[in-house]
């Protein structure tokens, strides 16, 4: 992506899968919000609004939203369901971690200037680099920091390892699309 060598069709397939994942993320966030202490709720509610905006944007991209979830997405969504049954502090830390992990990888890519000019990725780059999203991510980090103190470190490590594996599988899925 950094070199601008990913085809448009691969990007569209990746974005369609992203839509399915983000829908699951929204459901996870709504569940998290219901369980959250008062002090965390406004930030989580803003997180839901932001996620819905992202879905709106993806919805407008004329993607094949009837596509079946790729196994990597299906497994990640199952994991989010599983996480809903975990104690709130653990779920809150993982919620921040999975967003941070994705954004870190995305920003490391720094898609080339040609992506910024036009097309869906330029808008996506803007979406994820907007100051309000960065501020939201920062606030979610504050919540995670508070929640981490109430989390069993060994259990958290185990979940972080799993989450990273699911993230990696998502990028591998995208790579599959790029090769096809």
């Amino acid at each position: 992506m950094r070199d601008g060598r990913v085809s448009r069709s691969a990007i569209r397939r990746w974005l369609a899968q992203d839509y399915l994942f983000v829908e699951g993320l929204m459901r996870f966030q709504a569940g998290l919000l219901r369980r959250a202490p008062h002090a965390h709720r406004l930030i989580l509610a803003q997180g839901v609004v932001y996620t819905v905006r992202e879905l709106d944007w993806l919805h407008m991209q004329d993607l094949d939203l009837a596509a079946r979830p790729h196994p990597a997405v299906a497994r990640y969504l199952d994991y989010l369901d599983e996480l809903e049954a975990q104690p709130y502090p653990l779920a809150a830390v993982l919620h921040w971690a999975l967003q941070r992990c994705f954004i870190d990888a995305w920003l490391a890519v720094k898609p080339g200037a040609h992506w910024y000019g036009e097309g869906p990725l330029s808008e996506l780059v803007r979406h994820w680099t907007l100051p309000e999203f960065q501020a939201l991510l920062h606030d979610l980090g504050e919540i995670a920091l508070e929640a981490e103190a109430q989390t069993d470190p060994a259990r958290l490590e185990g979940h972080l390892g799993r989450m990273l594996a699911y993230e990696k599988a998502m990028w591998q899925m995208a790579w599959e699309y790029a090769q096809e």
Binding site: A30, G31, Q46, V49, V52, L55
Partner: protein, 224 residues
């Protein structure tokens, strides 16, 4: 003149948009408008709600908002994408209202839930299990019936006057209009008999809520 015509046609368009909902309201008009005559609502209009009763009522509002937050987040998960943004903003508005109540140090946030409030919260849970279209339209009935009664009184004085301001902000009014538009979009998909039955039930629950508030006034022991 042209501006006047523009405004009139804008109003006509808005009325046409919410017509199916207004028809539902019309069919239950007697019970709907009777809420405006509840003794507590009349006391609100006069700005004479005793502070103790106001506090107890707000404590119950806090319990209600918690239930509403659960209901709306469940509704969001069932909603089509085009409805989600408005619902997400509604969730944010409820969270902000809970924050306002939570910040009120005079309230006892551990106050027990009143039986009539408990019944209303149980109803909200039942509503979650209804098809999306039914839940969405009945959500409109709930807030519209409440706000119609509230703004018929629109307290300008007394301990609850600040809520007229809070609920009358242009942002919240716009959000309510957007929610009405969503309800209109799905009203044709909802089982009409269910809508009638549930509207009747909401109006009874609203009546009980205002009676609960009146109970608090009477228990406050101050002549209104």
């Amino acid at each position: 003149m042209a501006d006047g015509l523009g405004v009139r046609s804008g109003i006509a368009r808005a009325l046409k948009t919410v017509k199916p909902l207004l028809a539902l309201r019309e069919r239950h008009l007697e019970a709907w408008t009777a809420l405006e005559d509840e003794p507590f609502v009349r006391l609100l209009a006069a700005g004479k709600v005793p502070p103790t009763a106001a506090r107890r009522w707000l404590e119950q509002c806090h319990h209600w908002d918690e239930g509403l937050l659960h209901f709306l987040s469940a509704l969001l998960c069932k909603a089509p994408q085009t409805h989600r943004r408005v619902l997400a903003l509604a969730i944010q508005a409820v969270v902000e209202e809970i924050d306002v109540l939570q910040a009120n140090e005079e309230l006892d946030h551990s106050a027990p839930i009143h039986p009539s409030r408990r019944e209303y919260l149980a109803f909200l849970q039942e509503l979650q299990a209804q098809p999306y279209a039914v839940a969405m339209v009945i959500h409109w009935v709930i807030y519209r019936a409440f706000f119609d009664a509230w703004f018929s009184a629109k307290p300008q004085d007394g301990p609850l006057a600040e809520f007229s301001e809070l609920w009358g902000t242009p942002e919240l009014q716009a959000l309510q209009r957007d929610l009405a538009v969503l309800a209109v979009e799905v009203v044709a998909q909802a089982d009409p008999a269910e809508l009638e039955r549930l509207t009747q039930r909401v109006l009874e629950l609203e009546r009980q809520s205002w009676r609960m508030a009146w109970e608090f006034v009477q228990e406050a022991g101050q002549p209104p």
